[in-house]
Symmetry: C2
Subunit: 251 residues, 2 copies
């Protein structure tokens, strides 16, 4: 059953790793892409190491391409996690050894790692989750069903969410998280899910329309009970402008 | 003239460095703390490496304490600089060798470094700039007088400034940059300097007062020609609240 891996640990920079918090939105729930480690059955964020000739961004894109099937995921660096105690015992090591990965320095995985956190917002429907060598499951888990994670990954997830919430105040969101056409309640639900609180329907609608980033279409959502809700679409030009310049409070 | 240094390079993590953009405001100018390298005469940001038992934050505080005399500088991580080409030729090496620093691995300084950028806003008057082993000058340079810097330090400075500008939209600023009591024109000048553009006097005053973070005092600035301008002071409670919750656009 064991395959010798052709993974050459020595191609990677020592001490430096990256972890990715990939958010998707599906059926009114914010989900995060997680892996389950084979040995410990602990859940973990997808992550990896940096090759000699890669920037952190290239490395993160490489890791996520393998994990999701997607090219050119839009990633944001959001924090560096560098507690000296965060990685001195790496629970992935049993999986590494089990899998038969060989590396010159037997303690390579057990050395101290400083990890750069990235987050990404992706279209849920386009992702084809794929476990890595050390995990048996890779799947979307709803934010409210996520408990403890491997190492400090829960802290990394929480910090990504905190960053996303802060960003919600001054930047638009939703482009990669909602389908092309969406209803106002769907957009509101996305905001509520990220913020972790309910918002007033009328205030939300007034505020989001004032930003001028969405356009109402001459269509309604078909096949729903009661009154069919209107569909909206992001206005790409204004959305991009708001991304660059910030929403509202410009000096 | 040469002193053997007791700096033990091997106490530091390989591949990881940090660079600090320290902003101060003096005589209506935004200034940045820079070092001039002895050999190359190039200007550089204060920076350093990470000890085995330090977080990035502790390392940055240690570096800045030596460079400024200040304890507990409030530092913000803002970006990781990881272009593989950024440090493959380190112009500080001649200074290192000249100074007689010895280390086991002769290429230690020439290896690839991924650098975590921090920025800090400090009280100009409290800082006692002090060069490091490799530099002969450490001083405040006005933003508009800074040209090219060592390695990618100019890019790091520009990114710090970009982050500060973005933050200006949703967070208050000025607490550590202005004296305890300041005039409205002084506060406006700080904003204008960071933003790199002039602001309308009345709009600025209306907007900043609406944030409720400054209080007008029953005092005027003495000893100035013409009409003596009123003095203001930050309201610490509201300022902290605005730091935590953001200015204006709360969802």
């Amino acid at each position: 059953m064991k395959n010798k891996s052709n993974l050459n640990i020595n191609q990677f920079l020592k001490h430096i790793s990256l972890d990715c918090v990939v958010f998707g939105f599906h059926e009114n729930q914010l989900k995060v892409l997680l892996l389950r480690m084979k040995k410990t059955q602990e859940w973990a964020l997808p992550g990896g190491f940096v090759q000699e000739d890669e920037s952190m961004e290239l490395a993160a894109n490489r890791v996520l391409k393998v994990r999701t099937g997607l090219d050119h995921i839009f990633l944001n660096q959001f924090h560096v996690f560098s507690d000296p105690e965060r990685s001195n015992i790496n629970p992935a090591v049993p999986d590494v050894l089990e899998f038969g990965i060989t590396f010159n320095d037997a303690d390579w995985f057990n050395q101290r790692f400083i990890s750069v956190g990235f987050y990404a917002l992706v279209e849920f429907s386009l992702v084809q989750p794929k476990p890595d060598l050390l995990s048996d499951i890779c799947e979307w888990i709803s934010l409210d069903e996520i408990g403890s994670l491997m190492m400090d990954h829960r802290q990394i997830l929480d910090k990504a969410l905190e960053t996303l919430r802060l960003q919600l105040v001054f930047q638009p969101i939703g482009y990669n998280l909602l389908p092309e056409k969406f209803t106002m309640p769907e957009l509101q639900k996305l905001y509520e899910t990220i913020l972790g609180k309910e918002l007033d329907r009328r205030n939300f609608q007034r505020k989001i329309l004032a930003y001028n980033i969405i356009s109402k279409l001459d269509e309604v959502r078909q096949g729903v009970p009661h009154k069919a809700p209107s569909l909206y679409r992001f206005n790409p030009e204004n959305y991009q402008k708001a991304l660059n310049e910030g929403l509202g409070g410009k000096w």
